[in-house]
Symmetry: C2
DNA sequence: ATTGAAATTGATAAACTGTCTCAAAATTAT
DNA sequence: ATAATTTTGAGACAGTTTATCAATTTCAAT
């Protein structure tokens, strides 16, 4: 465990240092759980961690996942009814294909689309900071 | 008022007819208000209509705007914290540029992007039903 | 190692948005 | 007009996330 997720841990520590925040047992725990999962919700992580740490509060998980967003490790996504926290620390930015049949999520990047987005923005005098592209449909399996 | 929004009124009536729903004073009122605004929230409309119709219930507005979505006149968007109802009756499908400085929203269409989306989906075995593309950034005015 | 200021936590209350309930009212077909 | 059916409005309720605050933990300075 000391060998895994070192880079992300460093990134977190750097953010903490810059904002006079502290490194706690909970933050380490939640980071480790976060990096082990994709597109996880705060509640899902709460129940998952409750098995080994029954007293970890839900509020702490929300706070910490939001902290990861501030630190640039995570990004909040609004697919279903609950916010999903997406790991963007090792992968860079990416967008999503979402199957409305089985909830499967496929990540993709397409720099041609990204380029055209810039073009559209420029044409309207905008400077893009972020964007969100989600394609909803049916995967192969669910189409049959 | 009899001359305006006739087409949308017809579309609504057609949907009502097909689903044994009734045409009420509230539905006419809310349709008219809806077509007068862009990207409006249920609450904003509630307060707006309260001036002339203090007893129009918030639930009725939510129900009716959702009805418009079913009828294909409206589309729910999730920009801010509240759902915005977007008029798609006369315009067709479109995506959005959103200024995080002044909340300005610019609509755009780009069939090249749409085509590339299809391509990405196909490559992953998906059949797209809908999609959502939102570009967040600063407009000309807010950049200075 | 101890101290103490500052940040964090966990439990829970509260906020917020949207839907559900249900009796009363309105609509539409007969 | 009558009656069957749908709709409405008021408020209760539900789901998700944030705020509150006393107790605990961290960490920098002794
Ligand atoms: Mn992702
Ligand atoms: Mn729009
Ligand atoms: Zn599927
Ligand atoms: Zn602006």
């Amino acid at each position: 465990m000391a060998t895994k997720h070192v880079k992300e841990m460093e990134a977190l520590k750097e953010h903490l240092g810059k904002h006079q925040l502290k490194l706690t047992r909970q933050r380490e725990l939640i980071l480790s759980a976060f990096l082990r999962q994709e597109h996880i919700t705060a509640e899902a992580m709460y129940h998952q961690l409750a098995k080994s740490d029954p007293h970890l509060g839900l509020a702490t998980i929300y706070r910490t996942l939001n902290l990861f967003c501030d630190a640039g490790l995570a990004q909040a996504r609004h697919f279903g009814s609950q916010t999903k926290y997406d790991n963007v620390s090792h992968k860079g930015h990416h967008d999503h294909l979402i199957c409305t049949g089985c909830e499967k999520i496929v990540e993709f990047e397409n720099e041609e689309i990204e380029r055209l987005q810039e073009e559209v923005a420029t044409r309207h005098g905008f400077t893009i900071k972020t964007h969100r592209l989600e394609l909803y449909g049916l995967c192969t399996r669910c189409r049959d």
